[in-house]
């Protein structure tokens, strides 16, 4: 079976109903959509994932670009990255959000340091990241709210729709202290995603971040994920974190006596 016919099979056998019930519960015409349900791990991830066979280089996305920020935010980011490097070199790392058991939020969770799971159900696509048990709900086939209508959160307000074979997602309303790669952003940040199967078990997510306050231009990069049919996500509770932040904001460790 060729890759393209397997892909077609994956789309057809994954006969899921897209937009079968709108916000008012009115069924719309059922149509098949690609089956992206399952466990995934990011291709190219070297930490926290299971080793996999080397993927076809053609299935790897282009290298991720760095953000082009407005000068003052670029300076803020560079200073933060420099401070992290210097602190690490001194063996006194700066305490980050994980030291407080705080999860990554969006869009960092899509980096999938640990595996993630995608579930397709009526009117919703749900993405669960194993690390920190993070959950994103993408509400299907409904209009996006305005920023005034949503509270700022870690995962924001996400709406999605299928455009042919591509799941198109729009996310707004991310808290300003939820940082991705130490990049400053405003409450006006918008995350656009385009997810599609480029092979039966390889999913690409092209992510474009827009922010009229901090970014000079949209920031686009692509993550690729490999499906793991035999993997079930493990529980993750930040139960007893023996790292803590001292009064200087440096990461320390609690030693048992």
């Amino acid at each position: 079976m060729t890759a393209s016919s397997r892909l077609a099979t994956a789309i057809v056998t994954g006969f899921l109903v897209s937009g079968s019930a709108g916000a008012q519960g009115v069924p719309s015409q059922a149509r098949p959509v690609p089956d992206i349900t399952g466990s995934w791990q990011r291709l190219g991830a070297t930490v926290g994932v299971r080793p996999t066979a080397k993927p076809d280089p053609k299935l790897l996305p282009p290298p991720a670009a760095q953000p082009v920020l407005k000068p003052q935010y670029q300076q803020e980011r560079q200073q933060r990255l420099q401070a992290i490097r210097e602190a690490d070199a001194k063996g006194q790392p700066l305490a980050n959000h994980n030291v407080y058991c705080i999860p990554d939020g969006m869009p960092a969770m899509m980096n999938a340091v640990f595996p993630m799971e995608i579930l397709q159900s009526r009117g919703q696509v749900t993405i669960i990241a194993e690390a920190y048990n993070q959950v994103r709900r993408i509400l299907m086939d409904r209009p996006q709210k305005t920023l005034d209508e949503v509270e700022l959160t870690f995962y924001g307000h996400a709406v999605g729709r299928w455009e042919a074979d591509t799941l198109v997602v729009d996310t707004i309303g991310i808290k300003e202290n939820v940082r991705f790669q130490n990049t400053p952003h405003s409450a006006q940040m918008r995350i656009r995603e385009r997810m599609r199967l480029v092979a039966p078990d390889i999913l690409w997510n092209e992510i474009t971040i827009e922010d009229p306050v901090t970014l000079e231009q949209p920031w686009t990069f692509t993550y690729a994920y490999q499906r793991m049919p035999d993997y079930t996500l493990l529980e993750y509770i930040c139960e007893d974190n023996r790292e803590y932040s001292d009064e200087k904001g440096l990461q320390q460790i609690r030693i048992a006596k």
Partner: protein
């Protein structure tokens, strides 16, 4: 793709160096230039996230006991590498190779454990090869 100039190769290499290792927690508090080989008795195996710990009593030459907290990675990572919570229990005698804290406190990052039956396991520390190993003085004699 052909890279004809040294500069192009250097650029690629720099790009590689610049790629961040995505991990949740920094291990920079640990000494990357030496390791300790500790033989001791387990007092507790803490099987938790974000990281686990092996608590180890190590007999000293003067007859006293020194307690060490040996940090592991996430138990999720460990499970994907074949670890289970019942592999270590209080009273077990283990040999661990671990990178000590830079500040001298008695904690260290686990790089390799040897079980009583001789089986060795690693917890999957990101960039584990960047830790320079010190030969085990006992086996080195």
């Amino acid at each position: 793709m052909k890279l004809r100039s040294v500069g192009a190769w250097l650029g690629l290499f720099t790009l590689f160096l610049a790629l961040p290792v995505y991990a949740h927690h920094s291990f920079a508090v640990y000494d990357h230039t030496r390791t300790l080989t500790l033989r001791g008795t387990v007092t507790k195996f803490q099987w938790t996230n974000p990281h686990g710990f092996i608590e180890l009593d190590v007999a000293q030459p003067d007859g006293t006991t020194k307690h060490w907290s040996i940090e592991t990675t996430s138990i999720n990572m460990m499970q994907r590498l074949g670890w289970r919570s019942n592999m270590i229990k209080a009273g077990d005698k283990l040999k661990v190779v671990a990178a000590p804290l830079l500040n001298g406190d008695p904690a260290a990052l686990l790089l390799e454990v040897t079980f009583p039956d001789g089986k060795k396991m690693e917890p999957g520390v990101p960039g584990a090869n960047s830790f320079i190993r010190t030969p085990d003085p006992v086996e080195y004699k």
